[in-house]
Symmetry: C2
Subunit: 452 residues, 2 copies
């Protein structure tokens, strides 16, 4: 398989391949896949419904299985690995990057896990166990162990001779790590420095000693934030005693940065981050039903509030007709604030020093929104239903609910975070409950007072 | 200011600084900011309400203004640049990366733009004009022009000597570009290859000729996708004749990848991607009101549907009480499908070959969901309101709306894309309109038939 970036996959190719597969032209598909970089094959698998996916997989030469597995997203990888024989999995993982190897093993069901681990050769098993020693989602679990280390007491020329002897460096190597005899990280030298420095310089004179290595126990999302903030291409991973354990490269972090950014959107809709677009129906239905169940409770709660006002509702059908407008506007306004706050929290921008001014800002926006939309809806309802008191009632409810939306949009995510609940996951449904109840209560309550 | 990654900013520091600023301890704040990397100062500015922001800015030594501007997000940068004097802006942009220089200029109001451009020195003006020649959001507008080029007919040793003479390389240089006498890109040599190859090898023998340079006119999001997919650290940018124009590095792409991933979430709430968390109230209110206006129309449309059923609503107040449940459930289920499809579209996974199976999958999920929640809500309403026909009516409406939600969640984004409308921006509001109207119509319509 050629180097990854020699080709770029066109949608055309993908269409042709799927058509060929459906028409049973297996040899054609096999040849086409054979000449494609692993990333592109992975992309084809991810864009293919579950049923056809394994058919594609079986047409791929098993010697490329490893590379392709490395490129697949976790859900899709799991769906494939679980259909493979243990020996085939073990074979595919041979020479895989440590982090991917560990991830493949983690995605296996328990009974397969041990079987595959036993089938690995000594070196791979050793590497897998090192990575598996760190909890999932930590820097240690995504690091690679293929670092190039040098000693401080040699010259640039010696290092260059050593590198020429090696003849190749691990992918995305931009720095060499300087360690002492106990493997403790004492500095780093970038390839950039190496090629621009005098050959007789000592590494000790050249190296950057102010390295900020990543602790193996740091959460991977935090590590990704550091990469993003400080524009790193790679970073050393160390244990508590500063022993060099491995390195993390930007390509693995880019995936985490994207997943992290998508996480909020997916959670706000009650979806799994890694939800496979073409997952089987039953699995998807199960995953999504929790959210729908919570929403049903919320909707029933709102119905119960309306139920308090059964009398006035049975007197005036017009209230039933207009009852959804105020909650709906409050929900949209509140979700705008909530989305903004959740993003700001994810970027680490929300701090004790600025929450007051954030709350004040959103409250003022809520007030302005309240005035604007209260006046508008009063005008519309006044003209439509020819009733000034009714117009005043809905305007009042709108103003109240917009203020509530601003306050709830800021305070709900802050409170949830305090209780260690993911605001993106629970925020939206709680917010909607609040704006529904306050909207209905303000509208029907003031109607009951003024219109009955 | 020290190298970016020597320090990592703690929230504690940020709290102390804000407190110190508020207490008027300007010298302390100035000194603290002075010893901080530009990224961290930028982060402080982004986490600070607008009022205090410029106070911080004025305490920063003007010699660091450029670096910090480079690190700021666009909205925040614009808010600061517009308060600066033209000469100060020109001074701050001295030596700035080409892409940032062009972005700063683009963010200026017209009258300032020309003034700043005139205050730039010859070289910077030349570079700015080169980048401004490419439309915003293209690869050309985010490229840097600081490439290191070499010729194919020299040896590795000569190149190494040349690099040592230069003594430094541009930030994040991982490859040297090989060009012919007309500046046409013919290959690239990574630093990685350079340090592992024999000194007497010719660059022509060593270079990778299968480079996939990025066209200057390619949209930046597409370029970012390529970086993500092929794990690039940097890529050459060329014009149509394959002349080398500059290069793009991963650190700029990471920002675009994040913005791109956040774009859908922000758009779905009707927010601007770059919306500054601490933007002035009036500006935010204006930006958000478009969305609220659209939603008001939608809510009125739903109210009009209810209005058709005024008779039955005035007979049975219980219908008014239950009227919000079915639309709400349909909205949540539809938004789950919509979010999934929008993400899959953003990742390029939705193709003519798989839309049918995607639609079928979501329709089946809608059907399953419909059955589950219809049975549940029928049970609840039957027990609560002691009315079997009413229970049957709401169950029927639930099933209909869940099916509609599945269909709408897939087809709306596809249709919008066909008409070149951003599905993330308009999808959610159209979907909710559909599920509201179908939900109300199915519920009140069947009630009117069976219960009156």
């Amino acid at each position: 398989m050629p180097e990854a970036y020699e080709h770029s996959l066109s949608n055309q190719t993908l269409l042709e391949l799927t058509a060929a597969l459906n028409r049973g032209m297996f040899v054609h598909v096999r040849n086409a896949l054979h000449n494609m970089p692993a990333v592109d094959v992975a992309f084809i698998l991810e864009s293919t419904p579950v049923k056809t996916r394994f058919a594609f997989w079986q047409l791929i030469d098993s010697e490329f299985h490893g590379e392709i597995l490395e490129e697949l997203s976790e859900d899709v990888r799991t769906s494939i690995v679980r259909q493979m024989m243990p020996e085939a999995v073990a074979e595919a993982t041979e020479g895989m990057d440590t982090d991917d190897l560990a991830q493949v093993l983690r995605s296996l069901p328990d009974e397969l896990y041990q079987e595959v681990l036993n089938s690995l050769d000594h070196q791979d098993r050793h590497r897998a166990e090192a990575a598996l020693a760190y909890e999932e989602f930590t820097a240690g679990s995504v690091m690679n162990t293929d670092t190039v280390t040098i000693r401080p007491d040699v010259t640039v020329e010696v290092v260059l001779r050593y590198l020429r002897m090696r003849a190749e460096l691990p992918k995305n190597t931009d720095s060499l790590y300087v360690v002492d005899q106990d493997d403790i990280l004492i500095g780093e030298v970038s390839l950039n420095q190496l090629v621009t420095s005098r050959p007789d310089l000592l590494i000790a004179q050249l190296m950057n000693t102010e390295v900020n290595p990543i602790a193996a126990t740091m959460p991977e999302t935090e590590a990704a934030q550091q990469f993003e903030r400080y524009n790193w291409v790679s970073a050393a991973v160390v244990d508590e005693q500063n022993h060099l354990l491995g390195r993390i490269t930007i390509d693995d972090m880019v995936d985490i940065i994207r997943e992290d950014a998508e996480h909020s959107m997916m959670s706000m809709a009650g979806l799994d981050d890694e939800e496979d677009t073409f997952a089987p129906v039953v699995q998807s239905t199960k995953k999504r039903s929790i959210w729908l169940g919570v929403n049903l409770l919320t909707a029933l709660l709102a119905a119960t509030v309306s139920n308090f006002f059964e009398d006035i509702l049975s007197q005036l059908a017009v209230l039933a007709i207009l009852n959804t407008i105020v909650p709906s506007m409050g929900g949209v306004a509140g979700n705008q604030t909530l989305t903004l706050v959740i993003r700001a929290m994810a970027l680490g921008q929300v701090l004790p020093t600025n929450t007051r001014s954030l709350l004040l800002k959103e409250l003022t926006i809520g007030f302005l929104n309240g005035i604007i939309w209260a006046v508008l809806i009063a005008g519309i309802v006044g003209v439509w239903k020819q009733d000034i008191t009714l117009a005043a009632v809905i305007a009042f409810a709108m103003l109240m609910n917009m203020l509530a939306a601003g306050i709830a949009g800021v305070t709900i995510p802050l409170l949830l975070k305090k209780f260690n609940i993911d605001p993106a996951l629970a925020g939206s449904v709680i917010l909607t409950t609040v704006t529904d109840i306050i909207g209905i209560f303000a509208f029907l309550g003031s109607a009951a007072l003024l219109l009955s």
